[in-house]
């Protein structure tokens, strides 16, 4: 499943420039043929490198400010950032091996501290739990009279435990932020 983050003019600073991880951003447009060839590669890599490397994309049709700021005049253009600075780029559609080499090279050049990696893993974990907890609640609100059933009762209890644990993780994350 793709973990590529759709970035806009509004979120570019937060997602790319202030990212804790080395980050790639793919400048693309719906009308760009070669963009369609590279985007599945990023979808795949984003899942594989979750918590280690961040993949973003930006629709050039909708975000003129970022496009102007980085002088984007040809797409697909893929830029690589670390700690608020552009450190490398790939112009055009290239094979997966080229992209992979660049990502591996970035990871070597800009090692992320262990706390940074841990934070990324924990925050996506907490978010997944929150999503599923919401889904469960939605489902549970729609059904009646299941509390008397022992199996369902067990499930309700387990969900409650998971939610509690997830809240603990959230608090731990805040503490990690404080320690940094």
């Amino acid at each position: 499943m793709s973990k590529v983050i759709e970035v806009t003019d509004q979120t570019f600073k937060e997602e790319v420039l202030e990212s804790d991880l080395p980050t790639e951003i793919d400048f693309w447009a719906p009308w760009c043929g070669p963009c369609r060839v590279v985007s599945p590669i990023y979808d795949r890599l984003s899942a594989e490198y979750e918590g280690i490397f961040k993949f973003c994309k930006l629709d050039v049709d909708k975000n003129p400010n970022t496009v102007a700021k980085y002088h984007i005049m040809s797409i697909p253009m893929q830029m690589f950032f670390y700690s608020g600075e552009k450190v490398d780029e790939i112009l055009g559609a290239v094979p997966e091996s080229t992209i992979l080499a660049m990502v591996e090279n970035m990871i070597k050049r800009f090692p992320v501290d262990e706390i940074g990696k841990l934070k990324t893993i924990l925050s996506s974990w907490v978010e997944i739990n929150r999503n599923y907890s919401n889904k469960f609640n939605k489902w549970a609100n729609g059904v009646n009279n299941l509390e008397s059933n022992l199996t369902y009762n067990n499930i309700y209890q387990t969900v409650k435990d998971v939610n509690n644990s997830s809240n603990k993780l959230s608090r731990a994350l805040l503490e990690l932020d404080g320690n940094k």
Partner: protein, 305 residues
């Protein structure tokens, strides 16, 4: 690894050869250096490929061709081709290792010819472009130049005039090579301005294209032209460098074949834009791909007997 057939190039010709060779039962490998689909990926809407009355985007057609080609056990590899040698059968040397094969189909097509002037490479992607359809969007209300005088240059200039505020066409002669109808249309476009007898010496700019340094070839006069983008449309170069040692090429570097796609070396076939006198159409490339695969099949059968 040893194969019956190695196809070099993953555009329409190569993908079609792959489809036919796997369906005829040959153990086949397709080697591509960039992205499957080839040059057609850069075309927004293809309106002259039969079977799609409303047109089809190049990306979609490329994807369809690729999916169909790999349906019957076509093996694929992403690698640069280094050289082709006669050795037992043939040895294809690639950046990812060597491959032994009985027959080869070359479908490597062509690439944009570059000007090879200072600043061109450094500012590629920052105002230097080879594809008006791809990058014209970024030059809305800007000033651009097109270098060249053929059909592609003029078509590019017309397309760019829909976005840009002004389009200069810089040509080294005093008249265009483009077709007469196209020329007439171009001369009637108020946004187009022609700079004759002129070549570009340098692309100037720090982070993006800002100026061109020009020379008039008749008077020798030098000048500067302020622009935001330059589109280079000075033709194509066939991707045949890896085969110089083994095949007969014409003076422009295209591979010479007979009507069965056979080249000067037995067992090596060529298909698509890389062939001399190719009409350079998707439909003709597909046809070449079929013919080359069938010829290769017959060749391998004869070898086996």
């Amino acid at each position: 690894m040893s194969y019956d057939i190695v196809i070099i190039g993953g555009g329409p010709a190569g993908l079609t050869s792959g489809l036919y060779s796997t369906r005829s039962g040959l153990k086949s490998m397709l080697v591509e250096q960039g992205t499957f689909g080839g040059q057609i990926l850069n075309t927004r809407l293809i309106e002259n490929y039969p079977g799609f009355p409303e047109g089809i985007s190049g990306a979609e057609l490329g994807e369809f061709m690729y999916r169909q080609a790999i349906k019957y056990n076509l093996e694929t590899r992403l690698a640069d081709i280094v050289q082709l040698d006669k050795e037992e059968n043939y040895k294809v040397s690639t950046s990812e290792g060597n491959i032994q094969t009985k027959a080869v189909i070359i479908a490597t097509g062509s690439n944009y010819r570059k000007l090879n002037i200072p600043g061109e490479k450094r500012l590629s992607g920052y105002g230097v472009s080879y594809c008006a359809t791809c990058d014209g969007f970024f030059f809305r209300d800007r000033i651009v130049a097109v270098v060249g005088g053929g059909d592609t240059a003029i078509t590019d200039a017309m397309e760019l005039s829909q976005h840009a505020s002004r389009v200069y066409v810089i040509h080294r002669r005093d008249q265009l090579r483009a077709g007469k109808v196209l020329q007439q249309q171009a001369f009637n476009r108020p946004k187009l301005e022609f700079i004759w007898d002129t070549i570009v010496d340098e692309v100037i700019g720090e982070n993006k294209v800002e100026e061109l340094a020009l020379s008039n070839v008749k008077t020798g006069q030098k000048s500067k032209l302020k622009i935001d983008g330059v589109f280079v449309a000075v033709g194509l170069i066939p991707n045949s460098q890896a085969f110089l040692n083994i095949l007969e090429l014409d003076k422009d570097g295209y591979i010479i074949t007979d009507e069965n796609m056979a080249t000067s070396a037995p067992g090596i076939f060529a298909a698509g834009d890389i062939r001399r006198h190719s009409p350079r159409q998707i439909a003709s490339a597909v046809g070449d791909g079929v013919a080359a695969a069938m010829s290769a099949f017959r060749y391998i059968q004869q070898q086996n007997n």
